[in-house]
């Protein structure tokens, strides 16, 4: 009987591996198709700007950035956001009752005064205490919202949604560095869409290792330290292969909370961000999709393959483990809360393809890997390993992972997703990360996933600890 179980398990793992490989190849193929389409449909930045900047039809956008205890960086960050090149936008900074001088600094720097407001609480958030605007014409785009402490970014974002007056809003972190052309790039997809565009994602990369000048990334580079270097590769793979591939069939599963554009009406009607969720960005997008499908409306989701935003990621192993454990917990939450959507053709390609993929190859994969690893140890101890066969299969998996990461570099080069300062050295670092990732980085991520799942199951209280920022290099 044990032998039967053994064979069944072996074949199950083998079948799962084949399915996983096929899944990846399919995504690469989809991503390539999306690129071919973008080759024709996505012009360069200058052309986009030329067509949109003078047109009265260019839709207005609100940029929402919640801030809590950001006194060190707040002025630089707001100045950086103000450098965005777009004809019609407003910036909403939501102060989540900071205990430091964040609000005072904003008031002093931008000459803010209180203005009357009558805001309908369209989505759930802690009460707004006051709304401030600048008396200086130069800062007329800036709105500062002072609200009761909510403790989560989602609560601040919701308060921003309540204040925003435009059809589209972008949610970002106050410490993100936004590319000046980011809004043009995102709105290009909106003005070209025949169906209502409910969300546009943008490629986000790590700012660790980059050099910043006047609030803009002047020199893009792959970080030199190992943890951020692996993450850079992971981000590129996630955006240029996975998300771009899914966007080809209008089945984008996630628009990053770091920088994503949404239709305000649809976001409001689907309830905005959930302040209790650990993956509030995926959660809101899935609720938006559910709302659109249940109300019988067609919709479109898109991804900008060019880098639009830079964020500082965890620089140490401890911070990485903390972040990824939280993400894994968020994934479990999504699987549990939105289970109705999984394998449900009513929700289109998202329900019938993306979410099953997410469940089978992202949610279950760490469990399979961990089981496989323990099984391998047991087989080694009992002498049941055919080493030549095992090595060959291991070699196949390794070569395949390298092959997928190679596609990332190939796509990046083809799309000009990132304007690297030194292309050769950047690619060399990415190549090193590609070769080492399966041995060093991947086991850490698997471990974090298992811990995250376990914490969700035993229901420990989730604590949102912000990443300790080292700050980026400035010139």
């Amino acid at each position: 009987m044990w032998l039967t179980i053994y064979y069944i398990f072996c074949y199950l793992v083998f079948a799962y591996t084949i399915m996983l490989l096929v899944g990846y190849v399919w995504l690469v193929f989809m991503s390539r198709l999306a690129q071919r389409q973008l080759d024709v449909n996505l012009p360069d930045d200058e052309t986009i700007k030329y067509l949109m900047q003078g047109s009265p039809l260019t839709p207005a956008v609100s940029i929402i950035a919640p801030a809590f205890n950001e006194e060190v960086t707040i002025i630089d960050s707001v100045n950086s956001i103000m450098q965005i090149d777009y004809p019609d936008y407003e910036i909403i900074i939501v102060n989540d009752e900071s205990t430091d001088r964040t609000l005072e600094l904003l008031i002093e720097e931008y000459k803010l005064v209180e203005v009357p407001y009558d805001i309908a609480m369209r989505v759930q958030s802690k009460p707004i205490k006051r709304v401030l605007k600048s008396t200086d014409e130069r800062y007329s785009k800036l709105i500062v919202v002072d609200k009761v402490h909510g403790g989560r970014k989602a609560d601040g974002s919701n308060a921003g949604i309540n204040v925003c007056s435009n059809k589209y809003f972008v949610c970002t972190d106050v410490d993100c560095i936004i590319e000046p052309m980011a809004l043009y790039r995102m709105m290009w997809f909106v003005i070209n869409s025949h169906k209502p565009m409910i969300g546009v994602g943008a490629t986000m990369l790590m700012s660790n290792g980059c050099i910043v000048e006047d609030g803009k990334v002047a020199e893009a580079a792959v970080p030199n330290t190992p943890i951020p270097m692996f993450q850079q590769l992971e981000y590129l793979r996630s955006f240029l292969i996975s998300k771009l591939g899914w966007s080809r069939i209008n089945a984008l599963p996630n628009i990053s909370g770091g920088f994503g554009l949404f239709d305000t009406d649809v976001a409001v009607k689907s309830g905005g961000y959930d302040p209790m969720s650990m993956a509030e960005d995926v959660d809101m997008l899935l609720r938006m999709v559910t709302y659109m499908k249940n109300s019988g409306q067609d919709f479109q989701l898109a991804l900008v393959p060019k880098v639009c935003c830079w964020t500082e990621g965890p620089g140490s192993l401890k911070q990485l483990v903390r972040q990824r454990t939280r993400w894994a917990r968020g994934l479990f939450e999504i699987v549990s809360n939105h289970r109705k959507l999984f394998f449900n053709p009513h929700y289109g390609p998202i329900g019938s393809l993306t979410l099953p993929y997410l469940f089978l190859f992202e949610f279950i994969a760490p469990l399979f890997e961990m089981t496989g690893f323990l099984f391998m140890i047991w087989l080694t101890l009992t002498g049941g390993v055919n080493w030549s066969a095992a090595l060959l299969i291991f070699g196949m998996i390794y070569i395949f992972s390298v092959f997928i990461s190679f596609f990332v570099m190939y796509f990046d080069y083809k799309l000009k997703a990132v304007q690297w300062k030194h292309t050769k050295s950047s690619y060399f670092k990415l190549l090193v990360a590609t070769l080492l990732e399966p041995f060093i980085y991947h086991p850490i991520i698997t471990y974090c996933s298992i811990v995250g799942y376990w914490r969700f199951i035993i229901n420990t209280t989730a604590v949102w600890t912000p990443i300790q920022r080292k700050g980026v290099k400035k010139r």
Partner: protein, 425 residues
């Protein structure tokens, strides 16, 4: 060794390597179980694709370098002339000779072709396009641009690209021609109108609308867009109509097109275009549509258009509609009444303020009364004096200097700038 033979040599090497790899896998693992054969096959395939990708990265990098060199060469040689053509210095009509002088071209240069091949021509157009969209002065003349492009034999090249090039080159060439306002031969247009790509079809159609006589304007006599209309279409169509107006050609009957289309989005687009191009003569034709339709957005757009175009005959219809329409639509109707400001609709606005519980509509009604000339301001003051505690919050907006700025209907006014400022082109 030439480039082609060099590439051929490497392709043959790669093919030989692939053959070797697969033969190796086939014979080496012939006696192994299927799982092992599969693993070996996948590994070999991955290795091959990695090699191909590496080679293509090198190839792309080489192409890029070559392109960069060519760009530098073109910029070095022609940048001065290009800058001159798009600057305000070229505000008078120039002859071919003067343009040649601006480009520092000798008689000898003019005897042969100035650009040697299509690659150079493509790069020349790309570089000039960048100058055109980023540095062009309002005073520069389109005619000069045309003469200059003719001198470099660009129109013929672009037409060839449009008719024979790949999808990407077709779209790019069409966009260049539209931006430079170059005429396109009817036979090319006809060919493109039958293209299987919607994007090419539409670009061709807009190009026709831009410059041809009335007979070419029958595209929207059928339900053309059929749900596939986007903001970009409106921008392109607006660009074409604007160009038509500059050339002194008659604009089509946009109200009629709004009637014919069945999709609400498309109907709204034509009504908005009427507003942008001050097409007041067809405003009356929208009355039937206004009475018949139940589409909220369309009613909003028509009301706004009547307001902006100051079409006084519609005021009774607006007053009537204010009683029956839902809250969202009411706001647009009230704004239209304020723009007409004949004095007839002030009471309707007051009713609008009193007969609703929706704070947004109440605020907008108050805003309209405030902006409704002297009569409106008197009524506003009266309302303020008699305001209840709950209503007082509305009035605080009218006393704060920052929010007061937003109270004027400026933001919507920006939606209707003069025709000449709509597009840079």
């Amino acid at each position: 060794m030439g480039t082609i033979s060099f590439i051929k040599y490497y392709i043959s090497l790669l093919t030989a390597y692939c053959k070797f790899l697969f033969t190796f896998v086939l014979y080496k693992f012939a006696d192994y179980p299927n799982e092992i054969k599969f693993a070996a096959f996948v590994s070999a395939l991955c290795v091959m694709i990695i090699i191909v990708m590496l080679l293509s990265i090198f190839w792309m990098s080489w192409l890029e370098k070559r392109k960069r060199r060519l760009r530098e060469h073109i910029e070095k040689k022609f940048a001065k002339g290009m800058e001159y053509i798009v600057s305000s210095q070229a505000s008078k009509l120039m002859t071919e000779k003067e343009i040649a002088q601006a480009f520092d071209l000798d008689k000898e240069d003019l005897q042969g072709p100035l650009l040697r091949n299509n690659r150079e021509k493509r790069m020349f157009v790309e570089v000039f396009y960048m100058y055109f969209i980023s540095k062009r002065s309002e005073l520069s003349r389109t005619e000069n641009t045309h003469v200059m492009l003719q001198l470099f034999d660009i129109p013929d090249y672009l037409e060839k690209e449009v008719s024979l090039g790949s999808m990407k080159h077709k779209v790019n060439a069409l966009s260049y021609m539209r931006t430079f306002k170059l005429p396109i031969s009817p036979w090319v247009i006809n060919k493109l109108l039958n293209s299987r790509y919607m994007r090419v079809q539409r670009l061709a159609m807009y190009s026709t609308i831009m410059s041809s006589s009335d007979s070419a304007l029958d595209y929207f006599e059928t339900d053309f867009f059929d749900n596939n209309c986007c903001i970009k279409d409106e921008i392109e169509l607006g660009f074409s109509l604007q160009r038509r107006r500059k050339l002194g050609l008659k604009l089509p009957n946009l109200a009629r097109w709004a009637h014919i289309q069945s999709n609400e989005k498309t109907q709204c687009m034509f009504v908005r275009l009427m507003r942008r191009f001050n097409e007041i003569e067809y405003c009356g034709q929208l009355k039937d549509l206004y009475n018949q339709t139940k589409k909220k957005k369309l009613i909003e757009e028509i009301s706004r258009t009547w307001g902006y175009l100051h079409y006084l005959d519609c005021e009774d219809l607006l007053i009537e509609a204010l009683l029956t329409q839902p809250d969202d639509t009411k706001v647009a109707i009230m704004h239209a009444m304020t723009r007409l400001a004949t004095g007839k609709s002030l009471n309707a606005l007051l009713d609008g303020f009193k007969n609703t519980t929706n704070p947004h509509v109440r605020y907008e009604a108050l805003r309209c009364i405030y902006n409704y000339g002297e009569e409106g301001r008197a009524l506003f003051n009266e309302l303020e004096q008699n305001a209840s505690e709950a209503d007082k919050k509305f009035f605080t907006f009218f006393h704060n200097p920052i929010t007061l700025e937003k109270i004027r209907l400026d933001k919507e006014q920006a939606y209707h700038p003069s025709v000449e400022t709509v597009f840079n082109g």
